[in-house]
Symmetry: C2
């Protein structure tokens, strides 16, 4: 018998996409589904960056440099400078989305059996890349009660072993929307320097901070060797489909090693690099409008949620996600029920069960992630659906019970 | 000390790209360098497929389906049908270049420690992907004397162990240009069925067969479960920079497993998929002109090479590569010398030492790979350079000695 690989068998399916068949069935039966389940923004991709592709003279669409076109990397130097990050074009490697930057980071720095610590809930695909690299994810829990702030240093120290090689941090955070403070980033620096750990910093949502100053891992001093920044233009310019990211590091050994993986796959996408280059020329004011839009949505979402009986949603400081605790027995069952058995005026809402974002089994059962990627009108309709659904859901639990569960968990 | 991963340390640098600094230095000193070292065609990318991108209305460049846009996959069904391959859109997974198709195939089917047999010389980046997946490459040697035909079945059987899980075949072949016959493909089928092996079939050069009928692994009957086809539009439409490929398989377990890896990286490039879709609409006659052009180049290259003293180049049946044996001591030294210490009328030529394409250490030392991706005039000038260089090269050896070495090797 031909066999599938063990990695392939153990590879987790996407926790977000597993509900897709139910959503498709709901749509087929005529129900309108509001998609708050994935981070696909509805914000227009800046027309100027698509125009750059339209206007480009491309007799032959050639392989680019494996690290990306030098012209684009030089442009990125000025982009990073504008956000207080000083790097050279030889410290920037253009990747196929942020995903590939994560892959290159894992494969360049980690051996099979090595451990990476990640504050949970976390971006579920880290699991997939860890599986691919044979790396063990060690979660440490952050809690909804304090808005998913960084767990205290001693929580990290409890789980650090001789196999621990890195910490992954994502700020502003997907899935929680939490924006790490300067103090928290400095705390991470302390741990990484003391225990000689890489700090993999996923900064996909850099531009979307609302509640305070944004601190990049690259703003931290004295840890040039430790920081590997994983970046993408997907959210920054609402260009998820471009598949264009970057791995940025001042650690030359890491860069040179990642370059070998980059050479094996030849080059990042060519047309997307033209877009990326044009994007650097957008005025700084470009972000004002999407940020204002997201902020309006966030405020609507959070206030609607917190007015619902038994629901709690901390105010996210960045990105366009929020996690809310609901008076429900099981978020996986609830999210499926929303699609399979519920509608309100012919509409329903698709959410991501938070269980998929926790590494610790059993956590997130009364939490869902909401991506506020719809306009205010749709978001408001979606909240109407959720409010009604929570009243009808057969697995509704008493708020008291839910709080008890949270209390127990700590 | 922060450490680089073992995989990263062991990962081979690109054998083709390691000479790049010498080429850059030569250019800086005013020497024209003819690039016969990489498979970057100079053929125009069909303007209609770039126009499709220019004309596309893209308000938001969204993630596509992780398996690629369904509309593109449905188009590919008709493309594959046109080359005698019958598959459904649910057996096609759109990938980021052929590279990612190779990766997904390795990660879905192979465990660390598993072995894949590859006739050598072979595409050097298989080594990189094997290293990433922890898989061992077991080469079996094909020989320039018979144009790099498939080694006889008993050569495969000699190296098959309980860890052998797959054979990789590439036809028309990179780097040899060899086109496997129907008979040879059937021989591979026999081995794979008998020993329950996957047949990974890299068909990047499908359209470029000159000397006989092209046989795809998907043309073989009764081995649907074994075949994993790795494809790309890079060479087909001279669109290397698009980074668009496909993994095609009728083995549902392999497909479903690859899908989990595909979901982790979200989606293949969006703009490239628009190109790919438009490419399927090109008339069948589109290939006539590039094929005629490559054929002209091949004939020039091969006849020029074989007229040089001590040089032998078998006639390649497909792709746009040839391997030639030269009267030299060491192809790595020779190729570097061409860039560093030689010029002819202000020109020189960049070749790929064949050593990088062999898995067996020591082989390929008197061979180079030439990619005939330049127009006939440049190619002719490049051959002038090579002819002159072989006369001047201090490490020139007697042809007799070279033949003796070949004789010894078998």
């Amino acid at each position: 018998m031909l066999q599938i690989s063990n990695r392939g068998k153990q590879m987790p399916p996407s926790p977000i996409r597993k509900l897709v068949p139910y959503a498709e069935a709901a749509k087929k039966s005529g129900i309108k589904v509001f998609h708050l389940n994935i981070g696909q923004p509805d914000i227009e991709t800046p027309p100027s960056i698509l125009d750059a592709v339209r206007k480009a003279d491309i007799p032959v669409l050639e392989y680019s440099h494996s690290a990306g076109n030098e012209s684009y990397r030089r442009k990125l130097v000025s982009y990073y400078k504008s956000v207080g990050i000083n790097v050279t074009h030889e410290q920037i490697m253009v990747t196929t989305g942020g995903s590939e930057a994560i892959m290159f980071g894992f494969f360049s720095c980690l051996n099979p059996g090595d451990e990476v610590i990640i504050p949970e809930p976390f971006y579920a695909n880290y699991n997939g890349f860890a599986m691919q690299a044979g790396v063990k994810v060690v979660p440490i829990t952050s809690y909804i009660e304090n808005g998913f702030a960084l767990p205290p240093i001693n929580e990290f120290e409890k789980v650090i072993t001789e196999n621990t090689k890195a910490i992954i941090v994502c700020s502003p955070n997907n899935p929680t929307g939490y924006l790490y403070s300067r103090q928290e980033m400095e705390a991470l620096k302390t741990i990484c320097l003391e225990h000689k750990l890489y700090l993999f910093s996923d900064e996909a949502y850099r531009e979307f901070s609302y509640s305070g100053e944004y601190t990049s891992a690259m703003h931290l001093e004295g840890m040039d060797e430790n920081v590997v920044l994983m970046d993408t233009i997907s959210k920054r310019y609402s260009a998820c489909g471009a598949r264009l990211g970057a791995l940025v590091t001042k650690n030359k050994s890491v860069y040179d090693t990642a370059m070998k993986f980059a050479q094996a796959r030849l080059s990042p996408p060519g047309l997307a690099q033209i877009m990326g280059e044009a994007a650097v020329d957008l005025p700084a004011s470009y972000f004002d409008s999407p940020k204002a839009e997201y902020l309006k949505r966030r405020d609507l979402l959070v206030s609607r949620l917190n007015r619902m009986d038994g629901v709690f949603c901390p105010v996210p400081g960045g990105a366009f996600y929020a996690i809310a605790s609901l008076p429900i027995d099981d978020s996986d069952v609830f999210c499926q029920w929303l699609l399979e058995s519920f509608s309100h005026n012919g509409k329903t809402v698709m959410l991501a069960p938070a269980t998929g974002f926790y590494g610790t089994p059993g956590l997130g059962k009364n939490e869902v992630r909401l991506a506020y990627v719809l306009n205010v009108k749709d978001l408001s309709d979606a909240m109407d659906c959720l409010e009604e659904a929570l009243m009808q859901y057969p697995g509704r639990v008493q708020t008291v019970q839910s709080e008890f569960a949270i209390g127990n968990r700590q």
